[in-house]
């Protein structure tokens, strides 16, 4: 009988400790990450695509601009062409860094919810043309980039359509 009663006594002694440890563990557990409320994209968003400056590569700029003028981005109702390129806009607003803040400032200056622009990389090798198409969400600050490297202008002109379409569909997200 004593043996049978012994576990109860031990349990009686151990149970407060168990409760203590359990409560401490519960309190010390990591706070769950804050759930960021994802707002559904309104359907009447305005997309402003900014033309490539024809000073760099006129033929490529023309092809890219044509492609961007035709592109349809999901969740946007209005597609407008900005009057200035991204570089001119940044110079005008005196925010020339390629940062989210500057892009946001450009977006607010243009009154657009989303921006799309293309950049011809001047640092690419001589025989290569590297084109980057960026889709930027002004409100969230997310940017999706799609980079294409082509051997010569014809290849670049041929491949720009797919590049722009891919960028419009999402691409790789990076702030």
């Amino acid at each position: 009988m004593e043996r049978c009663a012994r576990p109860d006594r031990r349990l009686r002694l151990v149970s407060p400790l168990l409760v203590l440890f359990a409560s401490l563990g519960a309190c010390a557990s990591k706070k769950p990450p804050a759930v960021r409320a994802v707002k559904p994209l309104p359907q009447d968003q305005k997309l402003a695509w900014m033309p490539v400056d024809p000073l760099d590569a006129p033929s490529i700029a023309k092809a890219v601009n044509e492609q961007m003028s035709r592109v349809k981005v999901a969740g946007t109702k209005e597609h407008v062409k900005a009057a200035v390129s991204m570089e001119v806009a940044q110079l005008a607003i005196e925010c020339i860094q390629p940062t989210t803040i500057c892009y946001r400032a450009v977006g607010h200056s243009l009154g657009a919810d989303q921006l799309m622009w293309a950049e011809v990389d001047p640092a690419a090798p001589a025989d290569k043309i590297r084109i980057t198409v960026v889709l930027f969400d002004v409100q969230s600050g997310n940017a999706s980039r799609r980079v294409g490297t082509y051997d010569g202008v014809p290849a670049a002109r041929a491949g720009v359509a797919e590049l722009v379409d891919h960028a419009a569909s999402g691409g790789s997200r990076s702030p």
Binding site: S23, K30, R104
Partner: protein
């Protein structure tokens, strides 16, 4: 032990008791019953010769006390009790003969053991002599008994160092068991022993160290075997198949009850089951234990409450710290910060605007800061403040230098601007614009430019230049607007002017590249 002493208490018996031995009496000291068998007296030899005198060669029997001539026999048997051990005791006396053992002393010099006065006769080591015939036979067969102490052991066995041998009496004596033993001439008390002893054949297993066992001889029924020797010096004497008691057959001559019964069996009983020890309480008795439990519960609850309160405080403080982050990171704020500062030096506003939002985004990125994180954040903020202070100091120093430089150039710029713009102005609108703020017309120009109104933008930028001819931002806007309108020459002109007024501008390289591109385009046109 002597014949005149009590075999039990070893005290010398008084004469009266000795006389009464034949009728049977008791020891006056220990009340042990003493009786001398009446047969013994008539059959006994003369007092000084109890039948063994012819064997004596070296030692004379101890002087027997005068009262009883029959006392010599027990005295003799008592004086050499050990001679029985190595002797087969049977119903017949055995003539002295050479033994086949190695090292056995020659049988010729048979001698009786001299009566050794035992200093401390131990009843346990000196077995009781049950038969006088056995004692006689022992004297007969035994080798010349050495002078020995009771602890020593006579040896029929071979010399020391050789393994002991198990011999039957017949083997030991080299006689076939059924052969009738030779009869000694000497009158033997064996004759007085009951005749059944003659039919007893004993087999003795002698060992110096081991127990002495007597077993049956082959061919004899076990009932006929009766152990005649029960001796133990170093080990127990085991008697195989103890026969049924035959009181008539082996009537001891001298009766005395053994005060200490021989333990012939040991019963090993299982150890009584041990009850487990009563459970020892682990801690104190119940009442204090309960108190201890309550104390433990109370402490646990207190710790829990403290932990929860601390956690709440920490989380509350972290929320307070983290709260401004989203508001600071609100979209319109950076724009205002980035655009707002009126730059005496154009590089300053972007540089000022950039770090603050970065820090705010960092603060936003940490969702659940703990105390450690808040400490890290505080350290990081301190570091950022130091860096900002250093940067502001540097900026201030650079601004002072630039201001001095600017003032020097201001006179020249004023004259140049006066030459270019003044002719276009009407005399009425011409007003000192050096102290006016060029920022509002500049921002208006930007809005018109972004809206695609190039002409309106150019007008706005001109207004900015007019209001502040020494401020380069108007010239930059003019250059961008002219480029937008497709007037590269005017654009180049305005942009070069801009670079002149703001040679250390952050966008100096970009403007320079743009001038180069516009120049190429102009050439191609």
């Amino acid at each position: 032990m002597s014949a005149n002493s009590c075999p039990r208490c070893m005290k010398a018996l008084p004469e009266r008791t000795l006389r009464a031995l034949t009728q049977g009496t008791t020891c006056p000291y220990c009340a042990a019953p003493l009786k001398r068998t009446p047969k013994r007296a008539p059959a006994a030899a003369p007092a000084d010769d109890d039948g063994y005198a012819s064997f004596e060669m070296s030692a004379a029997p101890p002087p027997a006390p005068s009262p009883a001539p029959a006392k010599a026999a027990p005295a003799t048997t008592a004086s050499s009790p050990k001679s029985f051990r190595a002797t087969m005791v049977g119903g017949t006396a055995v003539a002295a003969r050479s033994l086949p053992f190695e090292g056995t002393p020659a049988p010729a010099p048979i001698s009786l053991s001299p009566p050794v006065p035992a200093p401390a006769p131990a009843p346990a080591s000196t077995p009781p002599v049950r038969s006088g015939a056995a004692a006689a036979l022992a004297r007969t067969i035994a080798a010349p008994a050495p002078m020995r102490t009771p602890g020593a052991r006579p040896s029929v066995a071979p010399a020391a160092g050789k393994p002991h041998r198990t011999l039957t009496p017949a083997q030991a004596l080299d006689l076939p068991p059924p052969t009738p033993a030779p009869v000694l001439n000497t009158p033997s008390p064996i004759a007085s022993i009951s005749p059944h002893l003659a039919s007893v054949g004993a087999q003795m297993i002698g060992s110096d160290t081991g127990p002495t066992r007597v077993s049956h001889l082959p061919g004899l029924p076990p009932e006929a075997v009766r152990p005649l020797v029960a001796d133990s010096e170093s080990g127990p004497t085991n008697v195989a198949q103890p026969t049924a008691p035959q009181p008539a057959a082996a009537e001891p001559l001298l009766k005395f009850p053994d005060s200490e019964p021989v333990i012939d069996s040991v019963t090993v009983a299982p150890e009584p089951e041990r009850r487990p020890a009563p459970a020892v309480p682990i801690l104190a008795p119940p009442a204090p234990r309960r108190g201890l439990a309550f104390v433990g519960v109370g402490m646990g609850l207190a710790i829990v409450v403290i932990a929860i309160v601390g956690f709440k405080l920490v989380s509350g403080s972290s929320r307070k710290v983290a709260a401004p982050a989203p508001t600071a990171a609100a979209p319109p704020a950076p724009v205002v910060e980035a655009v707002a500062p009126a730059a005496p030096e154009e590089t300053a506003p972007p540089a000022k605007a950039a770090p603050a939002p970065k820090a705010k985004t960092k603060a936003k990125a940490t969702p659940a800061p703990t105390a450690r994180q808040s400490a890290r954040r505080a350290a990081a903020e301190r570091l950022a403040e130091k860096r900002a202070a250093a940067a502001s100091r540097r900026r201030q120093h650079a601004a002072e230098k630039a201001q001095a430089r600017k003032e020097r150039r201001a006179a020249h710029a004023r004259t140049v601007a006066a030459r270019e713009i003044a002719p276009k102005r009407s005399s009425a609108t011409a007003a000192p614009a050096e102290h006016a703020d060029p920022r509002p017309p500049y921002e208006h120009g930007n809005a018109l430019l972004f809206a695609g109104d190039g002409k309106g933008a150019i007008a706005a930028y001109r207004e900015a230049v007019r209001s502040a001819p020494n401020d380069p931002i108007g010239f930059r806007g003019l250059g961008l607007a002219y480029e937008q309108q497709g007037e590269p020459a005017q654009a180049i002109k305005a942009l070069r002017r801009y670079l002149k007024l703001a040679p250390n501008a952050a966008d100096h390289d970009l403007i320079s590249k743009r001038i180069d591109k516009l120049s190429k385009r102009a050439k191609t046109k």
